[in-house]
Symmetry: C2
Subunit: 402 residues, 2 copies
């Protein structure tokens, strides 16, 4: 009865597979590689408690009041400075808009740019949360063949020529969710060339770039761009904490102007309180030292999960060895279905996310995303052991050798 009341776009919006899964994995006995959650034991509670209370006592009439849509100026300044220092960009403060996490930025991108049927090019696989946000605006996705160095430029250019309504290219070049892959600088340059040639906007989503365990941070797309082609998304969720929902959009002011209009209608502004608290945290504490600590912990967990997979998984299972971020990505031999594997592994109280829903167009059912940031090492070892057993069991049930 009610169904004819809803807008047509609602037919495209589906529940995220991860979200539904997270409900199961909230049971404490489940070893979960499913979420993308930071390690809560690393949140600097004492410092955050201190600054939270100080901001209210010293400046509460401002911190609890309505504020400007663009965001709290001192925080925007700090973000611009930090982007310059860490990612070599040259964005100014007025090119920063504060959002409720970078998920909100993804929604705004859909709202500002996408008419029904406009084309969004994305990696194969791509970030599920972005695909879901864009789907509300009824675009057409084109999945671009992608290898360990990023999108394959020749393939992208071939696909560009197949359609006229090209609008956006969405990429996560650093420690991609879900694969953990990082693009080569060569590929970044090629992407920019192609985007500029065809007048397409690039969305560079970079929540994990600072969580690099080895080597130098490569040139960001934004730092390579001097034409305003790239819109950068960032967040405090992975380097500080996700609960406060603080992210940002960095872009040409022509774009920021539109995002501000959209943000005004969407929620007026992001929490003044959270913005002033994070700003004060950055003033009173050394966030670089905090990030270094997070990286030390995650590096060990990455080592642990890779070692365990090498030991416990059949040789025929391939997986990525990321130099940073939160995820590794595994591919089972053809014919083995990761959703079925999940059923078996849940019986063993182990969860992960089947990879199919990370593909915009052509799901590969034999893929899976494994998160390693949210658990101590002994749980990781035990979880991967059970997951290995589940793979052998699936192989035997499916009569497909591994």
């Amino acid at each position: 009865m009610k169904n004819n009341l809803f807008a047509k776009r609602m037919e495209n919006i589906r529940a995220s597979e991860i979200r539904e899964l997270l409900k199961i994995t909230e049971m404490p006995e489940v070893i979960s590689f499913a979420g993308g959650l930071p390690a809560p034991e690393l949140f600097p509670l004492v410092e955050i408690a201190k600054i939270s209370s100080e901001v209210i006592l010293e400046d509460g009439r401002k911190a609890l009041q309505y504020s400007t849509t663009e965001g709290y100026l001192p925080l925007r300044e700090k973000i611009a400075e930090r982007l310059h220092r860490v990612f070599k960009t040259t964005v100014s403060t007025d090119q920063i808009l504060i959002t409720c996490g970078s998920q909100q930025a993804l929604d705004f991108i859909g709202k500002v740019f996408l008419n029904e049927g406009d084309v969004v090019f994305c990696e194969s696989p791509s970030y599920l949360g972005a695909l879901n946000a864009f789907r509300a605006y009824e675009p057409r996705f084109i999945e671009v063949p992608t290898d360990d160095d990023g999108m394959i430029p020749e393939e992208l250019e071939k696909l560009m020529l197949t359609c006229s309504r090209r609008k956006l290219i969405y990429v996560v070049p650093d420690f991609q969710n879900p694969t953990g892959r990082t693009w080569s600088v060569e590929r970044r340059k090629k992407l920019l060339e192609i985007a500029q040639k065809y007048g397409v906007v690039i969305i560079e989503d970079n929540p994990y770039g600072e969580l690099r365990f080895e080597g130098e941070i490569p040139a960001s797309l934004m730092s390579l761009d001097n034409t305003g082609t790239v819109i950068g998304l960032g967040t405090f969720s992975k380097i500080f904490c996700p609960g406060m929902r603080l992210g940002w959009i960095a872009a040409d002011t022509d774009f920021i102007e539109k995002f501000v209009l959209v943000k005004q209608g969407a929620d007026l502004h992001t929490s003044t309180t959270s913005q002033m608290q994070v700003n004060r945290f950055l003033e009173k504490n050394d966030i670089d030292m905090h990030i270094a600590h997070i990286k030390d912990v995650y590096r060990e967990r990455r080592d642990t999960v890779i070692e365990a997979m090498e030991r416990e998984f059949p040789r025929s299972v391939r997986f990525t060895r990321p130099n940073g971020g939160l995820f590794t990505w595994a591919e089972l031999p053809e014919g083995l279905n990761a959703r079925k594997l999940l059923e078996i592994s849940l019986e063993r109280k182990v969860a992960f996310v089947p990879g199919a829903s990370f593909y915009a167009c052509r799901p590969k059912d034999n893929t899976m995303r494994i998160n390693y940031s949210n658990m101590p090492e002994d749980r990781i070892r035990e979880g991967i052991k059970r997951l290995g057993e589940a793979i052998y069991e699936l192989s035997s049930i499916s009569s497909i050798a591994v």
Copy 2:
């Protein structure tokens, strides 16, 4: 160049007149009746500082982590209980979704319900922020003739028959923004009958209902409805503080399900930290006592602004005498333009919002919204005095007697 990149919907999204105005009125020497800001001197800073720090120290790993899209369960329970106690509704906890202020709820309503060209019926005038949020979804607005008791039912029914794509009726029945008017119960019942007869959903936006200075809270539309026709919006912005951005949608679970899907794509969830802090505030403090205190202060300010307008304004200026909320609404004699009045009054360092932009279709240029919650009484008196002088000046310039 960039303009052809933007989605068509962006042509409908304009900067809010209030927002632009608020930039001017941030200068401390300006006496501003323009914003809709609560009085920041009433924020309970000591208590909020205390609970902010306690939540982080005692439960920070949860408070700073990702959480469920629906919102923090204990807070949803408290909202459901409160709605029952104050507004006599029977909504259960699973009928509550936490949003980033009720502005976000307005955006979600557009997203869930509106196809391009769908009809939204609204009061004349109506809340600007709602009109702007809905505009992103390209509806057609129909302005329904409205008097001091609410929409005129016969007029609404006549207008219902003029169109086939009727979808929503948006109303603020208690101390409406911008007019301060409250609907009679009789009119509420009639509205429900008509909505049910034509299968149209009612949005009852109620940010001010608890700020009643005289008399009893009348039956809310939601409490009168037993068919799931009404979607209720609420917020902590006016009874607690707006800076944290906490509001809610109360609706039939069929609707909530859709809103949750949309919220997931829009920002995953509202700040866990803010939700747990407000929840703790409600546990440890008496919010009713706090609201009683706010009401005492605003009642005096309402008395002051009305007395001052009676004294300082020409008799031909009509204005509302609200029994609660934050606003009064004035109508200048025909032919006097409130935008021109604003120019004159800004020279005298007094601001208000011209009323034209609160009309979805047919702006009345001689109207203005006056906020009285944000200033002490001596400033209100001085501001209205200057505004009165400005009206006389405008009358003389325009050669229209007042």
